[in-house]
């Protein structure tokens, strides 16, 4: 009954579609990179622990401090001081010797991963939140990748829909 009556009532009224006033999009905003330093637990390093204890440049398993931290990112090439200079622990050292803050860690990563870094600055690589029209909040490299051991862990997927499971994961759909 609904099938027959609804459209036929529409024909009876025979009035034109009502135009809707389009709205202007929100003001185009800035892209902001989520700052890193507020998320670090014991920063600034030089004023906390390392005011009392100098960094140990010997390569060793870390047990006393930074426990559980492994270096699996060119482990035979680097040790802490490759990126964390002993004389300037609150900043990072680029290959050429320049220093950058932890908030600009992407410049350090981008030295080797130039293509990824270019994509990231264009908004192609990496996660974002906020607004598509701006301001867009972009995550820095280290928000998702551990620079000391960048191998990404496996994910446990959330459960599939019931009927998908019932099909035993069969062909699409």
């Amino acid at each position: 009954m609904r099938l027959a009556l609804g459209p036929s009532l529409a024909l009876l009224t025979a009035c034109a579609d009502r135009p809707r006033a389009p709205r202007d999009p929100p003001e185009a905003g800035l892209v902001q990179v989520v700052p890193r330093t507020p998320l670090l637990s014991a920063w600034p390093c030089s004023e906390g622990c390392h005011a009392r204890r100098a960094p140990d440049p010997t390569r060793r398993p870390l047990r006393e401090f930074h426990a559980g931290r492994t270096l699996d990112h060119g482990p035979t090439l680097r040790w802490c001081d490759a990126c964390h200079p002993s004389d300037d622990l609150d900043r990072l050292r680029l290959l050429g010797g320049d220093r950058v803050t932890f908030d600009n860690a992407d410049q350090l990563c981008g030295q080797c991963h130039a293509e990824r870094h270019r994509d990231w600055s264009r908004g192609i690589h990496g996660a974002q939140s906020g607004s598509w029209a701006g301001p867009t909040l972009r995550r820095n490299c280290v928000a998702c990748h551990d620079p000391h051991a960048p191998q990404r862990p496996m994910f446990n997927p959330l459960p599939p829909a019931d009927h998908d499971r019932a099909y035993g994961g069969g062909a699409h759909p």
């Binding site: 192609i124 598509w132 998702c144 994910f155 062909a171 699409h172």
Partner: protein, 306 residues
């Protein structure tokens, strides 16, 4: 022959000059009299005689949205807000998905269900993540019910949802005009105009439309109260629904729920007409492809590897 100057006749004409709507409403009220739940019967009738979305005035919308909100309050005990944000000027929405980054964790699928009030039992999901075999684009050999740690070796993952086609077969298939493409490129459904024939579902090459075979089952605590008339408001049984790029969110400038849920940043969304937008950056700098290009639908949803 009657005399047009006859005052008695003129009064009779005046009485008869009811609008179709008020006449039908009066008729409906009379028909509903004596029913146990008059409010519900009245709402049912109001819904029955409701006009097509495109013919509604702003006043009509206010009345209808209030009725729908009251209906949810009565049936689920939840106060919701139904809005109808207009399309944005100079905006055409597009989506890009990085298949190299997607790990198949289904966070998007679940976030979509939460945002869009889709039925939990039976499970209705607008988007499905296909587990594809590496080196093959054959969706016929893909799997949707995969379990265990992902990404599994020898596979990649391809989420599929509404591709918001420029030439949408579903829109052409609808016999009553209950589905159409909005000026910003989002294909929507007027759930109160849909007759549930499912032609659109059959016409879609992407399996992107869903049909409510039973009353959508949601606990009151699961209902998202932030609702749009053309997007995530609670659907009745027997109508077709689909992904709308979270229309009620994106027209406010927000990202779709699936994008915000993605832990790997595989999803990119924005205005196709803005060269600085993320989705345009993808189109300008990556080799993208569309699903089922041979179907000639010209989707606004792009996939890429990097």
């Amino acid at each position: 022959m009657s005399d047009p100057e006859d005052p008695a006749l003129a009064r009779a004409f005046e009485r008869a000059r009811l609008t179709r709507r008020s006449f039908l409403a009066a008729f409906g009220a009379a028909a509903a009299a004596g029913c146990a739940d008059r409010a519900e019967r009245s709402a049912l009738w109001e819904a029955f005689v409701q006009q097509h979305y495109k013919r509604l005035t702003e006043d009509d919308k206010r009345v209808i949205f209030a009725r729908l909100e009251a209906e949810v309050r009565r049936r689920h005990g939840v106060q919701v807000t139904i809005a109808d944000p207009a399309p944005l000027r100079g905006v055409e929405f597009g989506y890009a998905l990085n298949l190299s980054a997607c790990v198949g964790c289904r966070r998007c699928e679940h976030a979509c269900a939460v945002e869009n009030n889709t039925s939990r039992d039976p499970t209705v999901r607008y988007l499905k993540v296909l587990q594809m075999e590496s080196g093959s684009m054959d969706v016929e050999r893909s799997r949707v019910g995969y379990q265990g740690p992902v990404p599994a070796a020898g596979h990649f993952y391809m989420p599929v949802q509404c591709q918001q086609c420029r030439d949408a077969p579903c829109v052409r298939a609808c016999p009553v005009g209950a589905t159409w493409t909005e000026p910003d490129g989002i294909t929507v459904v007027d759930y109160n105009w849909c007759i549930g024939c499912r032609y659109c579902e059959a016409a879609c090459p992407y399996f992107a439309r869903r049909f409510n075979f039973s009353e959508p089952d949601l606990r009151p605590s699961e209902i998202n109260p932030d609702q749009g008339y053309l997007s995530n408001r609670l659907r009745p049984v027997g109508v077709v629904e689909k992904c709308t790029f979270c229309l009620h969110r994106v027209r406010r400038g927000e990202y779709p729920a699936c994008l915000e849920a993605c832990p790997t940043g595989a999803r990119k969304f924005g205005n196709l007409l803005d060269p600085a937008s993320e989705v345009r950056q993808v189109l300008d700098h990556k080799r993208v492809y569309v699903l089922h290009e041979d179907a000639g639908t010209s989707p606004r949803f792009y996939y890429f590897f990097d």
